[in-house]
């Protein structure tokens, strides 16, 4: 217990200093939101593997590291540094350096009327009314200590508001940059994405590192999809291997809203990807699609929590994992169907490729159904690259590395194909293909032969 108190001590110091000078510290509602969240975090502390939601992922390394908030931005990032990380064809690109919105590095082109894209801190300072009614409304700080911690330190991040009936064709790219840190640093990006009735938009959260160092990036996004809106969200994690990345995407879907969430976990050392949609209105549709590719000692945990709270909604979860080296992947798919959510149609599929003997996957479906007229299915597979397929390709003249890459691409392609064609998908495909080439190359050197036949472990 002594260590636990010591751990919290450093957060208390950080919080006290933060509370004094943070934006909106004088706004009673925001101060209360932060203080309540911090109190909740102090009550629970960090989760342990005894906690069912964290059974496969130990955050002890996070708990024992004394993280501090970044001070005033020390590192200067130039537009040139960011050039290789940008994406083509975005309507707007917001750049956040160590959690802080940097307008000089951002590009917001001409936007249709009714669209606001800016930094959360700016909006807090402006006193934008939508904040009080939406910030913290849907995120569950009771259940998740990281969400509580994020809320306690909520100050900056992206603020996107798309008005009723507005359709944004090009995606909004949010680039979160962690810079080199001498001492362990924590950032808590907080994004509020509000899409009004019948709007349409695509948002990409893209997490990168410039320079290494121990960084905890603990982000939380509240995405509100209004009635009949069509929203696509991408989460791309490609930070350095010494980064801790905890992210929570909380989606609130109104009647007939159609939301797609695509996650690509390629980087980061310890990654936890929480996706929590609540289908709150009738006729909602939700696609939760993801690909995680781990190597070395990466730990990539995907925690899905799909809540059907209304009748006639459908949800589809498809996650594919590729794990090499000593990487450890987790897929935890919880589906909760509330009592009144009749005619729910929920499906969950998790497929995994293990490329080495030491790679590991834990896959766990968890269905809680309180309605009696529903359709819920789940399935998981674990296999290896098939020796037969590899030989077939090679017998046609395709070299081993290319053949492996083709097979990995085919597996990853199942996820990429679920993305709507456009700049965001192109961006995702480019990142995945680059990453798989490096895995295929590395693989041929480390592991010359593979046992034939897939191993199946149904869940």
């Amino acid at each position: 217990m002594i260590t636990a108190i010591e751990e919290l001590q450093s957060y208390l110091e950080n919080f006290t200093a933060f509370a004094k000078q943070s934006a909106g510290g004088k706004l009673p509602w925001l101060r209360k939101l932060r203080e309540d969240a911090f109190a909740r975090f102090c009550e629970t502390g960090f989760p342990t593997t005894h906690d069912e939601d964290w059974r496969f992922t130990s955050v002890a390394a996070i708990a024992r590291t004394p993280f501090a908030l970044p001070g005033q931005r020390a590192t200067d990032i130039s537009a040139l540094d960011l050039k290789p990380w940008r994406m083509e064809g975005a309507a707007a690109q917001l750049v956040f350096v160590d959690g802080q919105f940097v307008r000089e590095l951002s590009a917001v082109g001409a936007l249709p009327a009714g669209v606001t894209i800016s930094g959360l801190k700016e909006e807090i300072e402006k006193g934008t009314p939508a904040l009080e009614s939406h910030l913290g409304r849907f995120l569950n700080i009771q259940r998740d200590a990281f969400c509580a911690l994020n809320t306690a330190f909520a100050e900056d991040g992206a603020f996107v508001h798309v008005g009723r009936g507005v359709s944004l064709d090009a995606p909004i790219h949010l680039l979160f940059v962690s810079t080199a840190a001498d001492a362990p640093r924590m950032i808590h990006p907080r994004n509020l994405l509000i899409f009004e009735q019948e709007s349409q938009a695509t948002v990409i959260e893209d997490y990168i590192s410039l320079g290494g160092g121990t960084v905890l990036c603990n982000s939380a996004t509240e995405l509100i999809a209004g009635e009949n809106s069509t929203i696509t969200h991408y989460m791309v994690e490609r930070e350095s291997l010494d980064a801790f990345n905890i992210s929570t995407l909380r989606i609130q879907q109104e009647r007939s809203a159609n939301v797609a969430s695509h996650s690509l976990l390629l980087g980061g050392g310890l990654v936890r990807n929480n996706v929590h949609p609540v289908l709150a209105g009738e006729g909602g549709e939700c696609l939760i699609n993801g690909l995680f590719v781990g190597d070395g000692r990466q730990h990539l945990d995907n925690f899905m929590h799909v809540e059907h709270a209304s009748p006639h909604c459908s949800s589809r979860q498809f996650y594919n994992g590729i794990l090499d080296g000593h990487a450890h992947g987790v897929f935890h798919g919880r589906i909760v169907v509330h009592k009144d959510a009749q005619k729910t149609d929920a499906k969950q599929t998790n497929r995994n490729l293990l490329l080495s003997d030491d790679a590991q996957i834990d896959t766990k479906p968890q269905l809680e159904i309180y309605a009696d007229d529903v359709k819920c299915t789940h399935g998981a597979t674990i296999g290896q690259i098939e020796e037969n397929a590899l030989f077939y390709l090679r017998s046609r003249g395709i070299d081993e590395v290319s053949a492996r890459k083709l097979l990995l691409q085919a597996f990853a392609g199942q996820c990429l194909e679920r993305m709507k064609p456009g700049p965001a998908r192109t961006h995702a495909e480019r990142l995945v293909n680059q990453h798989l080439l490096s895995i295929a190359n590395h693989f041929s050197v480390v592991q010359p032969a593979l046992a034939a036949g897939p191993k199946q472990r149904g869940a």
Binding site: N388, A389, S395, R396, G397, I398, A410
Partner: protein, 258 residues
């Protein structure tokens, strides 16, 4: 120089010796058939020649165009001109037929220092071969062999052979499981490929295929050795009398096992 020279080839799989000294010489333009009872080593021979790594060669030598075939990886053998039509073609979900075949063709062209062929030049050629094998064009965009019937899979093998134009085509039980119509189409595709520069090695359990593909030589493989070679009439004799008599003969003449 012969196209393929196999000398005293011994091969094992998982510690069991399957090939126990195979000798065979094949010249360009020739069609050779290997027949034999189940488990005699026919498929092993085909797999060793296409360099499958699960088979270990323990003795012997194989020269292909004068080069050491046994030193080659599967992709190198393929690029040199060895093609195996699989007995059980593999389904590869997520990779389109046309894309796969163009990748294969370009890998071979690259190996020969030729320019890669783009999709626009590739497709007309691909379509023409589809027509030859009487295959539906819609198969082009589908994943490799995925959801194909047995006959479609075998035709797809011959289609790949027609596009890749190998020097040595090895057909591993391409006739097994085919109805007579599919067999005719497959044979038509194979016969269209006969040329003075190309040789074929037809591995089959049944004589029926040889009614459609004219073979120059027939070899009978029993217990890992070629025990008899002859012309097409040997296949007819086997069809009539079965493999029993030749196996019995082989047992008598085989050297005592060590």
């Amino acid at each position: 120089m012969s196209l393929l020279e196999i000398k005293n080839l011994h091969a094992t799989v998982a510690g069991h010796e399957i090939l126990k000294g195979v000798d065979l010489t094949i010249n360009a333009a020739e069609v050779h058939s290997i027949m034999g009872p189940n488990g005699s080593g026919k498929s092993t021979l085909a797999q060793v020649l296409s360099r499958r790594e699960t088979y270990q060669v323990t003795a012997g030598e194989v020269l292909f165009k004068g080069k050491d075939l046994l030193a080659m990886k599967p992709e190198e053998a393929a690029c040199e001109g060895v093609f195996l039509a699989f007995q059980y073609p593999v389904e590869i979900p997520g990779i389109g037929n046309a894309y796969f075949l163009r990748s294969a063709l370009n890998a071979m062209r690259k190996y020969r220092n030729e320019d890669e062929i783009d999709a626009i030049d590739f497709l007309p050629m691909y379509r023409e071969k589809l027509k030859l094998l009487e295959m539906d064009e819609r198969l082009m965009s589908r994943s490799v062999n995925e959801g194909f019937s047995g006959g479609e899979k075998k035709r797809n093998e011959i289609l790949q052979m027609a596009v890749l134009e190998p020097k040595l085509a090895i057909l591993d039980e391409t006739d097994s499981g085919l109805d007579i119509d599919a067999l005719r189409i497959v044979a038509k595709g194979v016969n269209a490929m006969r040329s003075p520069e190309r040789a074929m090695l037809v591995v089959t359990h049944y004589q029926r295929l040889l009614n459609y593909i004219a073979t120059d030589y027939v070899h009978v493989l029993v217990d890992g050795r070629i025990v008899r070679s002859g012309g097409p009439e040997l296949a007819l004799e086997l069809e009539e009398k079965g493999y029993g008599w030749i196996e019995a003969e082989a047992r008598q003449t085989a050297p005592a096992s060590v």
